[in-house]
C-alpha cells in the first residue's frame, strides 16, 4: 500500500521531470540559435582580425557550428543522453566539471543564505503575527517591505561599500584571496569571502519568508480552532506552540523548498556584484560570450535544481501532512 503510493509518486514525478527537461533543452536551444552573438567570434575574442576566414571555418567545424541548427540540436541531444554535456568554450574543460566546481562554491553561498533566511524569516514572521499591530510587528513589517522592494545588487553594493571598502572587515570580492595558490587557501579565508554575499542574499530572502510566515500565521490565528483553543483557556506562547506552530510549519518549510528558483536568481546577481566564483557568475559569462554548451549545461542543471526543490516540497506535503498522508491522489 505504502510502497505503491511511493512508487506512483516517483513515477509521476519522473515523467514530469523528463518532459520538463526536454522542453527546457529545446526552448533554450532555440533561444540561443536565435541570439545575435556569434559563437566563433566570442570564442576567438579580440583577436578576430588576425583570424582568417579559413581558420574561422575550421573553428566552426570543430565545434559543429557549420551544421544546421536542427542537426546541432540532435548531435548535442544525443551526446547529452549519453551523459556528455560537451566542452565549455571559455574554460576549455568538460562542461560537467566546470559546473561541478562552480556549484560547490555556490552551494556554500546559497545554502548559508537559504538556512539563514529560512530560520530568521520564520522567527520574525511568527513574532510579527503573534504581536500583530504592536510596534514590533510594525518594525518587522516595515523592514521586510523595504527590503523586498530593494534590488539585490543594490544591497550587495551597499554592503560592499560599507563593510569591505569603508570598514575593511571583509575582502572586496572574489572567492579566495588574489595571488594565493588554491590549495593554500584556508577555510577561514573561504568563509570570509562568503559572508558578505551570503548576507546580501539572506537579507532579501528573510523579508520574503517573514512576510509569508506572518500572513500564514495570521490566517491560522483567525481560524475557528484557535478561537476554540482560546475558549479552552490557552493563550500566548502556549497557544502558538500547540496550534500555531503546528499549522504554520508545513507551509513554511514547503515554501522554503519551492524558493530554489529565486535563490538561484539571487545568487546570479550577488555573485556578479562580489565577483564570487560560483555558478551564477559563469552563467553570466557563458551568456555574454556565447558559450553554448556551458550555457545549456547550466540551464539543464538549474532546471534540475529547482525541480528537486519543488519535488521535496511536494513530497513533504504528500508524506508528512497527515491530511494527504492518508491517501489522497496527487
Amino acid at each position: 500500500m505504502r510502497i505503491k503510493r511511493i512508487s506512483t509518486f516517483i513515477m509521476n514525478k519522473s515523467i514530469r521531470m523528463a518532459t520538463l527537461l526536454i522542453a527546457v533543452c529545446f526552448i533554450s536551444f532555440v533561444l540561443i540559435s536565435a541570439s545575435p552573438i556569434d559563437p566563433v567570434q566570442s570564442y576567438v575574442g579580440a583577436d578576430m582580425t588576425r583570424v582568417g576566414s579559413e581558420q574561422r571555418e575550421k573553428i566552426a567545424e570543430h565545434w559543429g557550428l557549420d551544421k544546421s541548427p536542427a542537426e546541432q540540436f540532435i548531435n548535442w541531444g544525443s551526446s547529452l543522453i549519453r551523459g556528455d554535456l560537451g566542452t565549455s568554450m571559455i574554460f576549455r574543460r568538460p562542461v560537467i566539471e566546470v559546473i561541478k566546481t562552480r556549484f560547490i562554491s555556490s552551494l556554500a553561498l546559497m545554502g548559508t543564505a537559504w538556512l539563514l533566511s529560512g530560520v530568521i524569516g520564520f522567527l520574525l514572521g511568527n513574532v510579527a503575527a503573534m504581536k500583530q499591530g504592536t510596534w514590533i510587528d510594525k518594525l518587522i513589517k516595515g523592514y521586510c517591505l523595504t527590503l523586498a522592494s530593494t534590488p539585490t545588487f543594490w544591497i550587495g553594493l551597499f554592503l560592499l561599500i560599507v563593510f569591505a571598502v569603508w570598514l575593511g572587515w571583509f575582502p572586496i570580492g572574489l572567492g579566495v584571496p588574489a595571488g594565493v595558490l588554491s590549495q593554500d587557501v584556508t577555510l577561514i579565508e573561504h568563509i570570509k569571502h562568503l559572508i558578505l554575499p551570503a548576507i546580501t542574499l539572506s537579507l532579501v530572502g528573510v523579508s520574503n519568508v517573514a512576510l509569508h510566515t506572518r500572513q500564514k500565521l495570521l490566517e491560522v490565528l483567525s481560524s475557528d480552532y484557535i478561537l476554540f483553543a482560546r475558549a479552552r483557556g490557552e493563550k500566548g506562547f502556549q497557544l502558538f506552540w500547540r496550534h500555531g506552530l503546528r499549522n504554520v510549519a508545513l507551509p513554511a518549510i514547503t515554501l522554503q523548498f519551492t524558493s530554489f528558483s529565486e535563490l538561484f536568481g539571487g545568487a546570479v546577481l550577488a555573485e556578479q556584484v562580489f565577483s564570487y566564483p560560483g555558478l551564477g557568475q559563469i552563467t553570466v559569462q557563458a551568456g555574454l560570450r556565447g558559450d553554448v554548451p556551458l550555457l545549456l549545461g547550466i540551464v539543464i542543471f538549474s532546471a534540475i535544481f529547482v525541480f528537486i526543490g519543488n519535488l521535496i516540497a511536494d513530497a513533504i506535503y504528500y508524506f508528512v501532512d497527515p491530511r494527504t498522508r492518508g491517501g489522497r491522489a496527487i
Binding site: D224, Y225, R230, A231, R232, G233, R242, N247, R323
Partner: protein, 344 residues
C-alpha cells in the same frame, strides 16, 4: 463508565458572594445547590455591536445583540432556541470573552455574582466555563483528537479521563490517534462534547452539540448534561431544535433578532401554547409539525435592518401603533420573562 466529577462549589478567588456549601458538597444533590440565590450566570441588558468600515473611513455600527437578558442557576439546564442569525453563538462567545476585537459590548454579565470583565473571563475560560463549539472546524486539523481532549483536562490523569469519556461515547482506542479529517461528523461532535466534559467546568455552553448524531448518542449526551446539572453545574444548551430542548431543559429562552423575547419554564411549551407569553414563541410553537404546522410569515430582520420598536412588530399579528415605536422592556410574568407590550 465515567463518574462525572462533582461540580462542587470550588470557590473561585474573587468569588465572595457565591454560596459556600463546600461542607455538603461531597455528594451534592440538586437541592443543596439550589439554596443559592445568586445565579451561576446572569446576563443583563447585553448589547453587542460590530464596528465596520464602510466606504473610506466611515464607521458603521452593526447591532447584533440588543438588550439581551438571560440567567442560569446552579443545577439548571437552560435551552436557547432561535432561528439562524438570532445571535445565539455570539452570546456564547461574549460570555467566554472570545469575540473579535471590533466589537463593542455593553450591559452586565455576572458569573457567580462577579462581573465578567476580560481579565476574569481569561481566568475562567477552560477552567470554570467550557464551550462546546458549533462546528467541527473548531478542532485543530493537525493535532490528534485524543491529545486535543487531553489538553482540556485540568485535574487528574489526563489519559485516563480522556479514555473514559471516549469509552462512554463509543469511541474506540484507535480514535485517540486520529486526526479530525479522519472522523465522521458524528464522531467529531462527540469529540467536541468530550472536551467540555474533560474540563470539569461548572458552566457548560453547548452550541448545537447534537446535530448529525444518532439517537443513542444524543440520549447519551443529554444524559451527561442532566448528570452534570444534577451535580450543580449549569448548562446552556443552544439549539435550533425545540424538540431536543423540551427533552432536557428546565427553562427555555427564545431568541429573536438578537434579543430574548421570552424565557419560560419548559412546562409552558405544551398544549396549544396558551401558557406562552410572547407572540413569537407562540407562533414558533404552533409551527411545529406535531402542532398546527403553520409557518410564521415573513423573515427575521438582519442586523442592518432592525426595526425601531419591537423587533417582532413587522411579523406580529397583535402589533399596534405603540409596538412600532418603542422596544418593549423585559418584564416578569407568571414565573417567566417576556418582552412584549401586550403580553398577558
Amino acid at each position: 463508565m465515567l463518574s462525572i466529577q462533582k461540580c462542587n462549589e470550588k470557590t473561585i478567588r474573587m468569588n465572595n458572594r457565591a454560596v459556600n456549601n463546600d461542607a455538603k458538597s461531597s455528594n451534592t444533590d440538586r437541592k443543596t445547590v439550589d439554596n443559592s440565590t445568586t445565579p451561576l450566570l446572569n446576563v443583563h441588558d447585553l448589547s453587542v455591536s460590530f464596528t465596520q468600515y464602510t466606504r473610506g473611513l466611515n464607521q458603521k455600527e452593526l447591532k447584533v445583540i440588543t438588550n439581551l437578558n438571560v440567567s442560569i442557576n446552579h443545577g439548571e439546564i437552560l435551552a436557547i432556541v432561535g432561528s439562524s442569525g438570532s445571535g445565539k453563538s455570539l452570546l456564547a462567545h461574549a460570555i467566554l470573552g472570545i469575540l473579535p476585537a471590533n466589537v463593542i459590548i455593553s450591559g452586565n454579565m455576572d458569573y457567580k455574582g462577579v462581573s465578567l470583565i476580560p481579565k476574569i473571563q481569561a481566568e475562567l475560560r477552560g477552567k470554570e466555563i467550557a464551550l462546546i463549539p458549533q462546528s467541527v472546524n473548531f478542532l485543530d486539523p493537525l493535532m490528534k483528537v485524543g491529545k486535543q481532549v487531553r489538553s482540556s483536562v485540568n485535574n487528574g490523569n489526563a489519559t485516563k479521563i480522556q479514555r473514559n469519556i471516549f469509552q462512554r461515547y463509543n469511541l474506540e482506542d484507535k480514535v485517540d490517534h486520529m486526526y479530525p479529517f479522519q472522523l465522521s461528523g458524528g464522531m467529531t461532535r462527540r469529540i467536541l462534547v468530550s472536551t467540555a466534559i474533560a474540563n470539569e467546568a461548572q458552566l457548560i455552553i453547548a452550541d448545537e452539540p447534537t446535530p448529525g448524531l444518532d439517537t443513542g448518542i444524543v440520549n447519551e449526551t443529554i444524559r451527561t448534561f442532566r448528570e452534570l446539572a444534577d451535580k450543580g453545574c449549569g448548562i446552556m444548551l443552544i439549539t435550533h431544535d425545540i424538540e431536543t430542548a423540551l427533552k432536557i431543559a428546565d427553562r427555555i429562552a427564545v431568541f429573536y433578532a438578537g434579543t430574548t423575547v421570552e424565557i419560560a419554564p419548559v412546562e409552558d411549551f405544551s398544549g396549544n401554547g396558551n401558557n406562552l407569553r410572547h407572540p413569537y414563541s407562540k407562533a414558533l410553537w404552533k409551527a411545529l409539525p406535531h402542532n398546527d404546522f403553520r409557518p410564521i410569515m415573513g423573515h427575521q430582520p438582519p442586523p442592518n435592518r432592525l426595526p425601531k420598536g419591537c423587533l417582532f412588530a413587522p411579523r406580529c399579528d397583535k402589533a399596534t401603533v405603540e409596538c412600532h415605536d418603542i422596544l418593549p422592556k423585559a418584564s416578569s410574568l407568571r414565573g417567566g420573562m417576556v418582552r412584549c407590550i401586550h403580553a398577558s
